[in-house]
């Protein structure tokens, strides 16, 4: 999946013209809210956390509380399942 990262390696769904395009299987099937709560550090790059710890790419890690991202993804999947049921004529609109 194609996403865009800013200078702080935070992921975005849309490029504001300053971001870098990356391809990451990790985000396949993930909703926008989930993706935009993550950092993607490309191989060969380093990210320094505010406490001074340095992390090396290639790495994917949340910068928002994971519980929030997980909740958003589960809601997204529930809506997908609901839409599928409607298409199959087995659910209510």
């Amino acid at each position: 999946m194609v996403v865009f990262i800013d200078q702080d390696f935070k992921c975005h769904i849309r490029n504001d013209g300053t971001m870098t395009e990356i391809h990451a299987d990790f985000f396949d099937g993930k909703c926008d809210a989930f993706i935009e709560g993550y950092r993607f550090i490309p191989a060969g790059e380093n990210w320094t956390r505010e406490d001074g710890a340095v992390f090396h790419g290639e790495m994917v890690a949340p910068w928002k509380p994971y519980s929030e991202l997980d909740a958003a993804q589960r809601e997204y999947e529930r809506e997908l399942a609901k839409a599928a049921m409607i298409l199959l004529g087995e659910g209510d609109e």
């Binding site: 299987d25 099937g29 191989a43 710890a53 992390f55 090396h56 790495m59 994917v60 890690a61 949340p62």
Partner: protein
């Protein structure tokens, strides 16, 4: 000078409260003998913690209690910045604490001149050797694990704090010193070492390993990951954090940021991987 004085009850209560606070007690004090006894019992400066040993967590602990999980009576204790020698000289039951310069939580060791004491490993003399013990400290009204949270430590593998699970078409060899993984097939597949740990309040996962066989196949990625689900089968796409290892390396420390994870997590390695893992810990 008169032999008897009238004292305001409120003033007596104030004095008793002051004695109780200094003596770290909530007992009712009877004037005058109880006051005298309580004052005599106040430690002048000195230590601000106590060490207790039991198999069950103490129900009503005081602040700065160090609880050592043991069924062996504690006969004494000591602190040293090195681990105890192989042949103990201390009596059976003696507990040896090894403080560290930093850790997850500390105790306030001295009442007046505060020294924050971070504890790491805890040993107790059993019949002829030192045995590693689990320990917790009671700080700010709750129990906390001591020091660095080890998931696997070279030399103490048999006393590792986690139980591992293994799945997939691969071999895994766990000894005291390291975990050796090897996936011999050239086909894609999953190989997991999963260990549950509570990531709440932890910031970084460290893995010291030598990677002898990596695979950069686009469908299967090698790496260390932390999974937020409780699934027995854990694929890369269900992980919360992952680090993709793209080349073999000699022994080095890999780090993953886990500060945004709370609750029970699972450390795993995923995919085609050959490695020798020496230490896994969290801070």
């Amino acid at each position: 000078m008169a032999n008897e004085y009238a004292v305001n009850r409120a003033d007596l209560v104030r004095v008793a409260d002051a004695i109780r606070e200094k003596g770290k007690t909530s007992d009712q004090l009877v004037f005058p003998s109880g006051f005298v006894s309580a004052v005599d019992g106040i430690k002048a400066g000195g230590l601000n913690f106590e060490v207790v040993g039991s198999t069950e967590q103490p129900a009503n602990p005081k602040e700065n209690t160090i609880w050592v999980e043991t069924d062996q009576e504690i006969t004494g204790w000591s602190f040293a910045d090195i681990e105890p020698v192989t042949t103990p000289e201390e009596p059976i039951g003696h507990v040896w604490f090894t403080p560290i310069s930093r850790g997850k939580q500390s105790i306030n060791a001295l009442a007046e001149n505060t020294i924050q004491l971070y504890l790491n490993k805890v040993f107790q003399r059993t019949s002829g050797e030192w045995t590693v013990r689990d320990a917790m400290i009671y700080v700010n009204g709750e129990w906390c694990d001591v020091g660095i949270q080890w998931l696997f430590e070279s030399g103490y593998g048999e006393n590792a704090l986690f139980d591992y699970e293994h799945e997939g078409n691969s071999t895994i060899d766990v000894s005291v010193d390291r975990i050796k993984t090897n996936y011999s097939s050239t086909n894609n597949g999953q190989m997991l070492i999963s260990a549950e740990f509570d990531a709440t309040g932890l910031n970084t996962l460290y893995v010291e390993a030598e990677v002898t066989k990596h695979n950069n196949n686009t469908y299967v990625k090698t790496g260390f990951a932390v999974n937020s689900t409780a699934h027995a089968y854990i694929g890369l796409l269900s992980c919360a954090v992952y680090f993709n290892i793209t080349e073999n390396s000699s022994k080095k420390v890999y780090t993953l940021p886990i500060s945004e994870l709370d609750g029970i997590q699972k450390f795993i390695t995923v995919g085609l991987l050959g490695a020798e893992i020496y230490n896994i810990w969290c801070e």
